[in-house]
């Protein structure tokens, strides 16, 4: 009897020790990066560089950022919805500002990814104070109480209306409210493997944001667009912003 107990104890200890040695593998250890880069038509985008907007006028952009939420990994065996939110800052100081990092993903083969440009309604009901300071949605400068909404995107800069290189008209487009939420789908097959990072390079054509129905938006007539009374205009910008995002060749 005593021998049996001792033997069982020994075996239990062996199992415990061998269990400790076993490397931990989980099904959710992969990472997907969405790396954005900007261009203006065929030219690489740079903050405060002049870009033509029509035949005479030109603009310099000082701020261009937007929220992405509602990430969904697309798979023939079942889509996977993620809870992440990200603020992509095309005018930020580093590549990190232009990269969305999605961690803890399930390994497997995927046919693409879908996300929403803006803050999806369940998150848009919340306030910046509901999030820790390192969370993208904690930014009070991206929330407008008058809308009861996050500011989904900010595009700010100066316009040279006369083509005389005098940039004397500031402009701003701030989109927001559930109406301005837009969906983007990137169809690109990729495989996520354990402890590995896969990167999708995405392209934002900034010029397309200002092109609506083949015409450049008239910033001179309407330089400041951030008011609830401007929702139809803001919706146009939200749609064109989403349409400006595509897989980089």
């Amino acid at each position: 009897m005593d021998f049996t107990i001792k033997s069982l104890s020994f075996l239990a200890m062996v199992f415990m020790v061998s269990g400790c040695d076993k490397p931990e593998t989980t099904m959710e250890s992969s990472q997907l990066n969405l790396s954005f880069s900007g261009r203006y038509g065929t030219v690489p985008f740079q903050t405060l560089q002049p870009f033509p907007i029509g035949t005479v006028k030109s603009i310099k952009i000082s701020k261009l950022d937007f929220y992405l939420t509602g990430f969904t990994l697309l798979s023939p065996t079942g889509n996977i919805e993620l809870t992440d939110a990200a603020l992509v800052d095309i005018t930020g100081n580093s590549d990190q500002d232009r990269t969305v990092i999605l961690k803890g993903l399930k390994r497997g083969d995927y046919s693409g990814i879908r996300f929403q440009v803006g803050v999806k309604p369940d998150l848009n009901k919340k306030l910046p104070k509901d999030f820790k300071s390192n969370h993208p949605l904690s930014s009070t400068s991206h929330y407008w109480e008058a809308w009861n909404s996050y500011i989904f995107s900010k595009i700010e800069g100066v316009l040279d209306p006369k083509g005389d290189k005098v940039y004397d008209l500031g402009f701003a487009v701030h989109t927001g409210t559930d109406v301005c939420l837009e969906s983007v789908q990137i169809d690109k097959s990729f495989t996520l493997t354990d402890h590995q990072t896969f990167s999708l390079n995405l392209d934002l054509d900034v010029e397309k944001i200002f092109l609506q129905g083949g015409q450049y938006f008239d910033l001179e007539s309407s330089p400041l667009n951030h008011n609830p009374s401007n929702i139809p205009t803001l919706k146009l910008f939200a749609t064109s912003l989403a349409g400006a995002i595509q897989l980089k060749n």
């Binding site: 405060l48 100081n93 300071s133 009070t140 800069g157 100066v158 500031g170 402009f171 400041l224």
Partner: protein, 371 residues
């Protein structure tokens, strides 16, 4: 004879003990010399107005009664300056909402810095960089800098630490706050942790007229002028009044977006360079030249003069500046534009700014000097 012999032996013994005593150096560290003092820190949970975000406390610097007490003492003690003439509170005075009423402040060598002392009200919520140019990521790191800045305390941390070690009370207080075993364990890292703990307690009371007026059932209401100012400030008049565009940078509840802006107070020189480049000098991104932290407007009436260089002595001048649209430059915030406010509308904005006064904060005895 025997008596003389005993006396001689006694004297000799006393002499040996005296000489041995002379060899003893009390400044020599003795391992574990503080262990007899109990280390029983009492954790503290701070309360903030309901509308505020959660105050995040670093995991390696939890708030304790003892840490806050030590930090408060260090904050008000000129021991941190080279000639013991300046403390943190010299530039951050409680009755001025932790500013000093000066455009720029003189250091121990009577040389003025180039920027105005910022208010420390709600400083714990500033999570996007401290100072006007955002160069410090945390209160702990921020507290290192003024001590060694030539235009501030102009001292060295080893000198401060040496003074703290030799002080009558500080070793015991460091022991109580951080559980150090001996005097020699006092470090600059612990000193800045304590100062940061105290600074995190500097939270608005939530009892300003503004706070009460926007709280249903408080029984406090804006005057007509204050209400018009409120509506212009937050663009809430539905088009009846001009949008003064203030809220873009000075969001509720902190009355600061915590972000950085070029608000058009500096004229640009060639190549997007300003007299003071602010954030741009920190990040190296020229597109951020001329951008500065949007400070909280809570207690703004108490914190004159205004702007990063204290160029405006009154709020009237500040409102006039924003009404003018400021100097043009490529990265000037687009909401800084000619507003065309009437004298009455300017007066209404001023009336609203007065409702942000929080005298419960400045009168809080816990924020005053312990000396």
């Amino acid at each position: 004879m025997g008596q003389w012999r005993s006396l001689a032996i006694g004297c000799l013994t006393a002499l040996i003990l005296f000489i041995a005593g002379c060899d003893f150096d009390p400044s020599e560290p003795i391992e574990g010399d503080l262990l007899h003092i109990p280390y029983q820190p009492e954790s503290v949970t701070l309360t903030a107005p309901e509308t505020y975000p959660e105050l995040e406390i670093p995991g390696d610097n939890p708030l304790t009664q003892e840490g806050i007490k030590l930090g408060r003492k260090l904050f008000f003690d000129p021991i941190v300056s080279r000639d013991s003439s300046l403390s943190c509170s010299s530039c951050h005075q409680p009755d001025k909402s932790f500013t000093d009423g000066l455009a720029t402040s003189p250091g121990v060598d009577k040389i003025n810095g180039r920027r105005s002392a910022m208010s420390l009200l709600d400083i714990g919520f500033q999570n996007r960089g401290l100072f006007w140019d955002g160069r410090s990521p945390s209160l702990e790191i921020q507290a290192f800098l003024p001590v060694e800045d030539p235009v501030e305390m102009h001292f060295q941390w080893p000198g401060v630490v040496e003074r703290l070690k030799r002080h009558r009370d500080y070793p015991m207080e460091f022991r109580k706050a951080f559980g150090i075993p001996d005097v020699d364990s006092i470090t600059k890292f612990l000193a800045v942790k304590a100062i940061a703990q105290f600074e995190r307690t500097l939270i608005s009371s939530g009892k300003s007229k503004y706070d009460l007026a926007i709280t249903p059932g408080s029984g406090v209401f804006f005057s007509e002028s204050e209400l018009r100012g409120f509506e212009m400030f937050f663009d809430r008049s539905g088009g009846r009044l001009p949008d003064a565009e203030c809220f873009h940078c000075h969001n509720a509840p902190l009355m600061s977006s915590l972000d950085f802006f070029n608000n058009g107070i500096q004229s640009v020189r060639a190549g997007q360079v300003f007299d003071d480049n602010g954030l741009g000098d920190v990040t190296g991104n020229q597109a951020q030249n001329g951008m500065f932290k949007a400070p909280s407007l809570r207690n703004i009436v108490m914190t004159a003069p205004y702007m990063h260089d204290g160029r405006f002595s009154s709020l009237e001048q500040v409102i006039d500046h924003y009404d003018s649209g400021g100097f043009p430059s490529d990265n000037k915030n687009p909401f800084i534009r000619k507003l065309g406010l009437t004298p009455q509308q300017k007066s209404d904005l001023l009336a609203f700014l007065h409702t942000l006064t929080d005298s419960s904060f400045t009168n809080n005895a816990s924020f005053r000097s312990p000396f």
